[in-house]
């Protein structure tokens, strides 16, 4: 079912709601701009929740506990409190019952109409990303990275950006229930108390907890207390995309489970083995920043080798990329290791014999890599991805140690998660226990294990054997369906807690809004088992940290500073010192693992850059976000190489029956350049069958073929072509910069570092021909308007050399500017709305292409072709040279879009916002008009931010300083590829970039004089490998 259908479904059950008005034709705002307006709009459930919520609950739970409702239940209190919290944010009046502390470096009074920023943290797989959340009158509206946080450094991922959407998700579970019987929280507590006292008799032998991996010291402490009370109870961590390989690998290498902390900043040569370190994992945001910092074209520019089966974001950034099945990567590393050994690196001598039989890769490649690594001892880095087995990680560790990289480019430390491993193995033991009938009470706080667990575990069926299965989750998903009791989870933005970054730094997680649908917090659920379920996470958390001795003296003061800063100082965990590898032991340990791979085609699973493991499947933003590489939306596909597709005579969209072992599923085929032959890659996270309306029926569930003994890849899959065909909704149909062989100037200029450093290379003439030259200005009819008299001359520069195409900017922009989503059908028609389009082009051969990504939004031409064709002055130039789009004046002739050579304008072909849930409207940015049907829109350079900043600085009587005003995309970008500022300030970063020798203007030749310019992509190929041949493009 396409999302349009869902939309209809949703509009139906919201029939009573007034249909949304035409922008500009109504006096009733769809969002609050101030308390007065908010009051006027509340029949909005969200608001109702905050006002009526408390009292409503009091009544309801009064009945429950028979006290006639005069006793306020904890939850009731929580919401009354949250009401005053909201009031606090709104009216700047009463002190919030729950303190919410403004961020220190943004000293802004709590004022209606002025947003506040609160520091919190979010952990995708247990490790913290420090965030700043913008809050309007108590409603979180925008996520930013916390600059003070060692992991995010102020940037974000698209996952984190999407939190402000999911918190208002109307599909979230809303009612505690046991079977179909609705429960009150205190009823649940009562029942749990009863049950636990039984369990207590045999030390909780039948009590099991299946949790997501977490670094939270607070939850760790709760866990300890539970285990104290129930010595025979057990905790098991599970994530369907766990990093077990890494920890097991370090165990092999160093004898104890450790996690690697990478520091690519100091790496001259990076060899990434099936590791998408720029696109996934706990370090991705920081690594992206560090990596980009070393891409500045100079002799210090780093060099990236990537060996991987399917094209990833990291692969797209590679200077040299070698495609091979995931199962062969180990063999490749082994050969590399033995070659290094043969070059006299003593430490590797014992491993020299590992060299592996099959060598279907280019030997030159191996030599080149080896030489490069040797040349850069101590400043090189070998990274192995989470999909690779322990042996490979172990070898990599050994290699890093041998190269002396330890401590410089990589260090190893004790895992901060409460369980070192969270993968198949631990879950397996639990499964056996359940099968043995030994489990009486199973509390699942892990994210949707029934969907994510290996099929051979048959978890859903097994759970029937558990008398008392309790699922704590955001949605009524697959796992909820399989469990007896369902507890709706509070959203990360609704919860108290704490998390640790990869370096150990602790962040306090604070709620931005009271649980909209009355969700419960994880801490409260666990606390229920030590009889403190009604104390409240906030109290427990504070109590815990009071006892940690981190805040001598005035605890409350320190506590507030922690909340404000978003980090708890002095909590970083040191790395392991003096690690050594016992080569002999290692050799024996890994040899069997590297044994000859089985024959046949390889089936490979991959976490999805949009859905991850499926937990983001209900986010329309992410569903509609074009896949960074394939540009696929609203679907996943079985990805194969051109050669493989040819061999099986498959076209894009052909549905194939994939049969593996005893199971078979149907999936559509998508050919992907640079994909390894004889491999089919199946992205996880789709084909959801839970209660989430958006996710329902999107894509196929690759997990159906995932077995516990082959969680990531295996040989022996077969593809059978079926008759069926599906049409993908792909936002970029074409692969190259000249799909039909035309000879037009390429949108992206890329060159090698050698060419860039040589001032006489043709690269320089090429870019010089494509940018204004003061000596020989472009011929013009009308004298260019002079903006130098204006206080600011806004402009942007995008460094293609830094852009990884990760798409965080796209979602950031979507969130900041209230950009709607249009659904699968409309994307297919070519009506997607994201203001930023990340164009992805392949150059070179289809088999081993080079990939370039180019973020393209409105470039704010000074001689804008869109403007003079608008009959009603709806798009004109501002005094500072912004290309303004005036929604309320637009009549929607679409002429401007036709005449836009960049095609960056977006049109509301239908009244997409009709389908918004009332709650979703609460998440809108009140500074940006919500566009209705028939209106053109496009990038505004975040003019709402400009005007806010302009006003505040003018009141202070000063100019806006360079760097204090960031556009949403710029702020979200992990690599700092996007820079925005004023050209009238000759020292501004953007001015410097506009003067950069790599600068060129897109479509310079047609004389639009864009304000957004690009810096050419630069590659740092190994001369010994030469240039990959530049073959003709592919259509």
């Amino acid at each position: 079912m396409s999302c349009d259908d869902n939309h209809e479904a949703r509009t139906k059950d919201r029939a009573k709601r007034r249909s949304l008005p035409i922008a500009g034709q109504t006096s009733s705002p769809k969002y609050w701009r101030s308390v007065e307006e908010r009051d006027r709009t509340s029949p909005v459930p969200g608001a109702a929740n905050e006002f009526a919520g408390g009292t409503f609950d009091v009544a309801q739970y009064g009945q429950e506990d028979g006290n006639g409702g005069n006793s306020v239940s904890r939850r009731g209190f929580m919401q009354v409190a949250s009401l005053s919290t909201a009031m606090a944010a709104v009216g700047a009046c009463t002190k919030p019952a729950h303190k919410i502390v403004p961020f220190v470096r943004r000293p802004e009074e709590v004022t209606p109409g002025n947003p506040l920023h609160f520091a919190t943290a979010y952990g995708l797989d247990g490790y913290a990303s420090g965030l700043l959340v913008e809050s309007h009158e108590g409603r979180p509206t925008k996520i930013e990275g916390n600059p003070a946080h060692p992991q995010t450094l102020g940037a974000t991922t698209s996952f984190e950006q999407s939190l402000t959407l999911s918190v208002y998700d109307d599909d979230r579970a809303k009612q505690i229930r046991s079977g179909t019987r609705p429960l009150a929280w205190r009823t649940f507590l009562a029942e749990t108390a009863a049950r636990t006292s039984q369990l207590g008799q045999n030390g909780g032998a039948g009590l099991r907890f299946l949790i997501s991996p977490t670094t939270s010291p607070f939850l760790g402490d709760l866990r300890k207390r539970i285990l104290d009370r129930f010595p025979s109870a057990k905790f098991v961590s599970y994530s369907s995309v766990a990093d077990d390989g890494a920890t097991d690998g370090t165990k092999l290498a160093f004898g104890k489970p450790l996690i690697a902390r990478h520091k690519v900043a100091s790496a001259n040569v990076i060899v990434s083995l099936d590791a998408d370190f720029l696109g996934e994992g706990n370090e991705q945001t920081r690594l992206s920043r560090e990596f980009a910092a070393r891409r500045e074209p100079s002799r210090q520019m780093n060099r990236l080798y990537v060996v991987e089966p399917a094209m990833t974001i990291t692969g797209a950034m590679a200077d040299h990329r070698l495609r091979m099945p995931g199962g062969d990567v180990g063999a490749f590393l082994a050969s590399l290791v033995s070659m290094m050994a043969s070059r006299g690196i003593a430490a590797l001598a014992p491993l020299a014999s590992l060299t592996h039989g099959q060598r279907h890769w280019d030997p030159k490649w191996l030599v080149a890599v080896a030489t490069d690594l040797e040349r850069n001892r101590g400043n090189s880095l070998v990274i192995v991805g989470r999909r690779q087995p322990a042996a490979v990680h172990a070898l990599a560790a050994a290699l890093n140690v041998a190269l002396g990289n330890l401590g410089n480019t990589v260090e190893y430390a004790t895992p901060l998660t409460s369980d070192p491993t969270a993968g198949v193995a631990p879950l397996g033991t639990l499964v056996q226990e359940i099968a043995g009938g030994g489990v009486d009470t199973l509390v699942i706080t892990a994210s949707n294990p029934v969907y994510g667990a290996p099929v051979d575990f048959k978890l859903a069926k097994l759970l029937e054997r558990v008398p008392n299965s309790i699922y704590f989750g955001l949605y009524e998903d697959e796992t909820a369906a399989a469990c007896k009791t369902m507890i709706p989870a509070a959203h990360p933005l609704e919860s108290w807690g704490d998390l640790r970054a990869t370096d150990g730094t602790v962040s306090i997680v604070q709620p931005l809004i009271a649980p909209l649908w009355g969700g419960i917090q994880e801490a409260d659920v666990l606390a229920a088992f030590v009889g403190e379920g009604d104390v409240g996470a906030h109290a427990l958390l504070k109590k815990f940290w009071k006892t940690q001795g981190k805040a001598p003296g005035d605890f409350d003061g320190t506590w507030e500073r922690w909340l404000a800063d978003g980090i708890v100082p002095g909590t970083a965990a040191p790395a392991e010192a003096g690690l050594t590898v016992d080569g002999q032991a290692l050799a024996q340990a890994v040899a069997p693992a590297l044994g000859a791979a089985r024959q046949g085609m390889e089936i490979a699973f991959a976490s999805d850059p949009k859905m991850y493991d499926g937990r983001f499947a209900n986010s329309v933003w992410l569903q509609e976000l074009p896949h960074p590489i394939t540009k696929l939306t609203w679907d996943n596909a079985a990805m194969v190489s051109e050669a493989t597709a040819k061999a099986l005579n498959l076209e894009d969209g052909d549905v194939v029956e994939i049969s593996y072992r005893d199971r078979r599923i149907d999936a559509p085929i998508l050919r992907v350049p640079g994909h390894a032959d004889d491999v089919v890659t199946l992205p996880l996270g789709y084909g959801r069958t839970g209660g989430e309306k958006v996710a329902a029926g999107i894509g196929f569930n690759a997990g159906e073929l995932r077995f516990s003994d082959a969680p990531w890849f295996d040989r022996g899959v077969r593809l059978e072509k079926t008759e069926r065909q599906i049409k993908f909704s792909i936002t970029q149909d074409h692969w190259t910069m000249a799909p039909d062989g035309r000879e037009t100037p390429p949108p992206v200029v890329s060159a090698t570092i050698a060419e860039v450093l040589n001032p006489h290379s043709k690269f320089h003439t090429e870019v010089e021909d494509r940018r204004p030259d003061p000596e020989h200005p472009q011929p013009v009819i009308h004298k260019p308007v002079d903006y130098s008299g204006q206080p600011y001359k806004w402009a942007m520069a995008v460094d293609l050399n830094k852009c990884t195409g990760c798409s965080a900017c796209v979602v950031a922009c979507q969130s900041e500017n209230n950009i709607t989503t249009v659904g699968k059908e409309n994307v297919r028609k070519g009506r997607e709305m994201q203001w930023i389009r990340i164009d992805r082009y392949y150059t070179g051969s289809f088999e081993d292409p080079e990939v370039v990504t180019q973020p393209l939004a409105c470039v704010h031409c000074e001689t804008a072709p869109c403007e003079y064709v608008c009959p009603v002055n709806a798009t004109v130039h501002s005094d500072e040279g912004l290309n303004e789009m005036v929604y309320n004046r637009c009549i929607g002739t679409r002429y401007c879009s036709n005449n836009c050579p960049y095609k960056v304008r977006r049109f509301n072909f239908l009244n997409y916002i009709n389908d918004y849930s009332a709650a979703r409207e609460l998440g809108m940015n009140p500074d940006v008009t919500v566009r209705t049907r028939g209106i053109m829109e496009k990038c505004t350079y975040c003019v709402q931010r400009i005007e806010r900043k302009r006003i505040s600085t003018r009141i202070e009587g000063r100019m806006i300083q360079d760097g204090e005003l960031l556009t949403a995309c710029q702020q979200g970008c992990p690599t700092g590829a996007i820079v925005f500022g004023s050209l009238n300030d000759s020292n501004s970063k953007v001015s410097q970039l506009h003067a950069d020798p790599r600068r060129y203007d897109l479509l310079y030749e047609i004389g639009t004089r864009p304000r957004t310019v690009y810096l050419a992509r630069v590659r740092n190929p190994n001369p010994e490998l030469g240039q990959p041949e530049k073959a003709g493009g592919h259509e």
Binding site: P784, A864, E867, Y868, N873, V876, S878, D879, R1009
Partner: protein, 189 residues
């Protein structure tokens, strides 16, 4: 000209017309000229289609339409250009993709169109105004024969001043070559 038809005096004096049919356009022209030379005023011819020489036969002055149209067209052009100038240059000049607020070439089309519109309009209006149409009632419609004037008959009408000798008029018109002649009288309401 010959119609105060819609002016009602308290003492109503009906206007009388001498209406005579001629067999051919040529005959009509000749007859008209003859009658005019015979001193009759307020003559008019009625034919299913325009006849060459009408103006001379009736001794009409130059038609006024061309001048009216010229004025209309000039007015249109001036209104258009000044409107554009007022809107986009004087009242609110905006930076439209770096183009100057006052771009004469861009103003040509609308200036021209409005000239044509008002010119054509005045040609149309002008005709009906000069012909004092619509005028559903006219005394000569009182004649039953006159219905053929729009089909295939050629009439000469003479508005007779009060006290004209009817018989003599009839005689004169026959002499002028009319096939028939009759007197029609305006009715009061």
């Amino acid at each position: 000209m010959s119609d105060q038809g819609h002016e009602h005096h308290s003492d109503f004096v009906p206007r009388r017309f001498l209406l005579a049919e001629f067999s051919t356009p040529a005959g009509l022209l000749a007859g008209t000229t003859k009658m005019r030379e015979g001193g009759y005023k307020n003559l008019d011819m009625h034919s299913p289609f325009p006849i060459h020489g009408t103006e001379e036969a009736l001794g009409l002055k130059r038609p006024k339409i061309p001048l009216i149209v010229l004025c209309g067209a000039i007015a249109g052009a001036c209104i258009a250009y000044s409107l554009i100038y007022f809107c986009n240059v004087f009242d609110w000049p905006l930076n439209i993709g770096n183009r100057p607020p006052h771009g004469p070439p861009a103003n040509i089309p609308i200036t021209f169109e409005l000239a044509v519109l008002l010119g054509g309009g005045s040609a149309f209006m002008g005709f009906f105004a000069l012909a004092k149409l619509p005028q559903p009632y006219h005394p000569i419609f009182e004649s039953d024969d006159f219905a053929r004037a729009s089909v295939d008959a050629f009439f000469l009408s003479v508005e007779l001043e009060p006290g004209t000798d009817i018989d003599r008029a009839l005689a004169d018109i026959r002499a002028a070559g009319a096939l028939s002649g009759e007197i029609v009288e305006e009715s009061e309401r």
